[in-house]
């Protein structure tokens, strides 16, 4: 890079960081009452306005989620619970449906291409679905303020992981572990970008099962899709190529989400009035986001999304402390 261009790129990077910081600061100081209108009569009078706003908001989140390479649920729950008048119980129920619907609608082509792998995903989904049911039960039994506080902590940790963690396109696994060998967990897929077949195998399967048990619990408890955690475990811990990790994560969270969603339904925490516009908005937004992916600087979007997550996490923490 010539010096002028390097300096320009540096300035642009600073500008992006500054814009994200400004945006984050604005969100943080924005009074909750501005969006989460306090007067109950106003809420009753304008239910359609909230539903419309939720749809538009989910649509925008869907665009950002795809551009930043994160699942919808992880953005949806902390932000909607911070800025909309719905109780966290219903937001978590809707968050699970957002994640589940997105994974289901994207799943078929990914499986046909061999990117989402059943043999890799099913054992992880089996343990994850059990713990996601448990997580949902615990989450709905705990006092709302405690859940809000814990959600804040989890979201701030996720934002930090997203900011710091790396990823590996094609990790090399020299020796697969005994369990993955016994289960024949390995695969091959055609990578269009490099016009080559990529074969993969995995290691650390038993440890990963424990991780998926924990991830399922957190996903069920907070109504998060948990792709933010599934992907690093598949990719960085087990050594699965990034694309297979992302696609198989969708399979896992579709099963885990379906298991936990029943708990929300039987506890009365699933409101179609809230869940359906969220699903529709997020899915439409994801489609637009996928089209914009080649034209937008994904790095800048990621900075904004991480900032939004951090702010939503801090707001959840403050709400959890009753501030």
């Amino acid at each position: 890079m010539v010096p002028d261009r390097a300096a320009a790129a540096k300035r642009a990077s600073f500008a992006r960081g500054g814009a994200a910081a400004l945006f984050a600061a604005l969100l943080l100081v924005l009074p909750a009452t501005l969006l989460a209108a306090e007067p109950q009569a106003a809420i009753e009078a304008a239910w359609w306005a909230w539903v419309l706003l939720l749809f538009v908001f989910s649509f925008v989140l869907g665009i950002f989620a795809v551009l930043a390479g994160v699942g919808g649920g992880v953005l949806f729950v902390p932000i909607v619970s911070s800025f909309f008048p719905f109780h966290l119980d219903f937001v978590r129920g809707a968050g699970l449906m957002v994640a589940l619907s997105g994974a289901i609608s994207a799943g078929s082509p990914l499986m046909r291409k061999g990117l989402a792998d059943l043999k890799l995903g099913l054992p992880m989904a089996l343990v994850g679905s059990l713990s996601s049911i448990a997580g949902a039960m615990v989450g709905l039994a705990l006092p709302a303020q405690t859940v809000q506080l814990l959600l804040g902590i989890v979201i701030v940790v996720i934002a930090s992981i997203m900011f710091l963690s790396g990823k590996s396109g094609y990790p090399e696994v020299k020796v697969p572990d005994a369990l993955s060998k016994a289960l024949h967990i390995s695969g091959i897929y055609y990578e269009e970008s490099i016009k080559k077949e990529v074969s993969w195998q995995v290691h650390r399967t038993p440890l990963s099962l424990i991780f998926f048990l924990m991830i399922g619990f957190i996903g069920g408890m907070f109504g998060l899709g948990a792709g933010f955690a599934n992907v690093p475990v598949f990719n960085l811990l087990m050594g699965v190529p990034l694309k297979v990790s992302v696609a198989t994560s969708g399979l896992v969270l579709s099963i885990n989400g379906a298991a936990a969603a029943w708990v929300y339904m039987f506890k009365g925490a699933m409101l179609p009035l809230i869940a359906v516009p969220s699903i529709a908005g997020m899915m439409l937004g994801s489609k637009i986001g996928a089209k914009l992916l080649t034209r937008v600087n994904a790095g800048s979007v990621r900075i904004i999304v991480v900032s939004m997550l951090a702010v939503a996490g801090i707001r959840s923490l403050l709400k959890g402390f009753g501030i």
Partner: protein, 142 residues
């Protein structure tokens, strides 16, 4: 990594079976979701609990709202034709259909696993179905 010859890489039969069912069901579910929600919010069908009542109470915890409104819960809307043919109940059914998609996909896939002599995965698929069905009965939360 290998150089790509001409043939496509092998995708196992059970995976194609899962993808085939998933494709059809996901399209159906999304259409049903849109249609039933339109019937709900435009009040084309009667509602068990009015939207205004839901909106007036959506700031409450789920059990509190349930206590006040008796909104559709679990399979409660299936108790009769009268409670089923309502905008909110049909919209709720759309959510249930989405949650049942993995169950149906796995039920179709499990026999293929057995036919392909991948017994362990056939058993895992059936266990997964069992877990999802147990969750769907609601006995875990009673």
């Amino acid at each position: 990594m290998k150089e790509e010859p001409s043939a496509k890489p092998l995708v196992h039969k059970e995976q194609l079976a899962y993808a085939g069912v998933l494709d059809k069901l996901s399209h159906f579910a999304m259409l049903f979701l849109a249609g039933s929600y339109a019937a709900y919010i435009f009040e084309l069908l009667p509602q068990k609990v009015s939207i205004a009542e839901i909106a007036a109470n959506w700031h409450l915890r789920a059990p509190l709202m349930q206590e006040k409104l008796d909104a559709p819960l679990g399979w409660s809307f299936m108790s009769g034709m009268e409670s089923f043919w309502r905008g909110d109940a049909l919209s709720y059914l759309a959510i249930i259909i989405i949650c049942m998609i993995p169950v149906i996909c796995l039920l179709v896939t499990a026999p293929v696993f057995f036919r392909e002599k991948r017994l362990v995965f056939g058993i895992i698929a059936l266990l997964q179905v069992l877990i999802l069905l147990v969750a769907a009965t609601g006995i875990l939360v009673r």
